[in-house]
Amino acid sequence: MTRRTLTLKSKRFREERQEVWKEMEFMLQRIEARSVRGLTDEEIIKLPRLYRSTLSSLSVARATSLDQSVVSYLESLSTRAYYVIYGSQKRLRDRISGFFTRDWPLAIQSAWKDVAASTVIFALGMLVGFVLVSSNADWYYSFVAESLAGDRNPSASEETLRESIYGYQSGDGALGAFAASLFSHNSGVAILAFALGFAFALPTVILMLMNGLMLGAFVAIHTEKDLGFEIGGWLSIHGTTEIFAIILAGAGGILIGRAVAFPGDLSRMESMRSKAEQAAIILGGVVVMLFIAGLLEGFGRQLIQDDWVRYGIGGSMLIFWLLYFFLPREAFQP
């Protein structure tokens, strides 16, 4: 009886194999800490062999051993090794650059219809807002929330408006506060435009229209006071990036909304899922654009007072984005 206990097969199995497991574990620790590049050639050759041997140990252990600690240890070791061996071997910076050189622009390129639709809707809103407020300034209050406009309304003097365009406020900080609120307002709008796309894109369309109206109205009260050129510079230095970002987020929302509304041969859910990743990639990039816009707004506009330089920066950002997104590029070949 006792002799049999002493020669437990699962115990002998473990004793024979555990050196391999330890070696695998040690190598995994090093790979997870740094990268496969940290291994010597010899170790890299050894890695798949260790992996297969660990996997086979797992199969054997499941079939023959009742030692829970061995089985769960091997399960976790094999899973970790699996993700290392078959997972992405690329470095973090290569993966990030892959997103920006390939995934993101391609996602936007192939959604060009939605980008166009979103742009047209926004521009339409802007035009209507501008025309209405120019003809009757009272419209301004129905388009622009008071909390956003502050003292910049149709009754404001030219002085006030001019000051808010060029002012480098230190005391009351009107511009700084306005910039900060615009910053969070617009990123909120961008995300909302995307999020509401699921409801057949209707809320997204409304939101884009509303924001267009607001911007048009805002420009209108400045042209009234002959500050059209100046407000253009003030808006475009960051606005070309920021408004583009909002338009892209809207495009993502419309993309999803279209997929839900017109699923074709798929079920609505499948159709939504087939477009959702593309749309989410667009949104992921939009966040980056909003950040750049925030930088331009927070620093660029504070430091640069010259209208032409403001236009120059805004224009070149726009050209940069357009080239970046729509220059033909090769799809990723795995």
Partner: protein, 294 residues
């Protein structure tokens, strides 16, 4: 935990076990992270972000910038960077986990395949904005000035659906996971504990030799009980040891002798039972528990 080979049972599926077959044909049977540890991991990450912001605010404060506004804009930007890129950058890393996830031993993985693409990570975290930061924003009434009340309400309801989504699907997916084709799995790193049947030392051998169980006595239990006994022996809680030992003695009719320690008795019985059940396994019989008469 009973690592049955082959199909997972419905209860195991319910507990979050999933098949993951490697190209070599081995089913790894991964385990999904439970909602609790995901919330915990997220809370830790938020805490890290908050502490970073507070530290940054202190540093900026002590630098006495010429302009408070510039300082506040810098803080806003740092907050934006952290909120937008903290999760993405860490999940793109080799461990596919944020510090909070690492602490709670969970990670992000692609559903059904090994390669977690950068696009997936960006996508699942872009939707975190909608699934979390947006509803929180609505809750505290910040962020979205100038959007109509009804639009906010609509968005709040919508965001609420996002927030509670993981509770209502079997794979515990966030909307971001659903969209990006990912899920969050447990990635425990257990140490290889010592085998309880170590008999190399002569004194151990002598201890084991003292206990000669009859086949009938050994056959009293199955695999389930063996695993419980293993847990008890590894935990080494004296009271539990005594309790379990006396129960087993009663069940198998073992007479306690002077000087016999509970721990030694249990170890010996564990070794005998495991040997018995494992040799049955070699013949293709897995005796699930004590009610399984095989």
């Amino acid at each position: 935990m009973s690592a049955a080979v082959g199909q997972l049972s419905p209860t195991q599926i319910k507990q979050g076990r999933r098949h993951l077959v490697t190209p070599e044909g081995v089913d790894l049977q991964i385990e999904l992270a439970d909602v609790g540890s995901r919330i915990g991991a997220f809370a830790i990450d938020l805490l890290i972000i908050a502490v970073t912001l507070i530290v940054a605010a202190f540093i900026l404060g002590s630098m006495s910038l010429y302009n408070d506004e510039v300082a506040s804009i810098i803080i806003t930007l740092i907050a934006f960077v952290l909120r937008s890129f903290y999760f993405t950058l860490f999940e793109l890393g080799r461990r596919a986990a944020t510090p909070g996830k690492m602490l709670l031993k969970i990670r992000v993985a692609a559903r059904g395949k090994a390669r977690l693409s950068a696009a997936s990570v960006f996508a699942r975290n872009a939707l975190r904005e909608i699934g979390f930061f947006l509803p929180i924003g609505f809750l505290f009434g910040i962020g979205i000035g100038g959007v109509d009340g009804w639009m906010s309400l609509l968005a709040s309801i919508w965001a609420g659906i996002f927030l509670f989504f993981p509770l209502f699907n079997k794979d515990r997916l966030r909307v971001g996971d659903l969209v990006a084709g990912t899920w969050v799995v447990r990635s425990p790193r257990p140490m290889l504990a010592a085998d309880l049947v170590v008999t190399d030392k002569p004194e151990n051998e002598a201890v084991f030799a003292k206990f000669a169980f009859t086949p009938a006595q050994i056959d009293a239990y199955g695999i389930k009980e063996l695993h419980v006994l293993e847990d008890v022996l590894r935990a080494q809680d004296r009271e539990v040891l005594t309790d379990v030992a006396s129960r087993i003695r009663t069940k198998i009719g073992w007479v306690w002798e002077e000087g016999e320690s509970d721990s030694a008795f249990l170890r010996a019985y564990y070794a005998a039972l495991r040997g018995r059940l494992e040799s049955k396994m070699l013949m293709g019989v897995r005796r699930a528990d004590k009610f399984d008469r095989r």
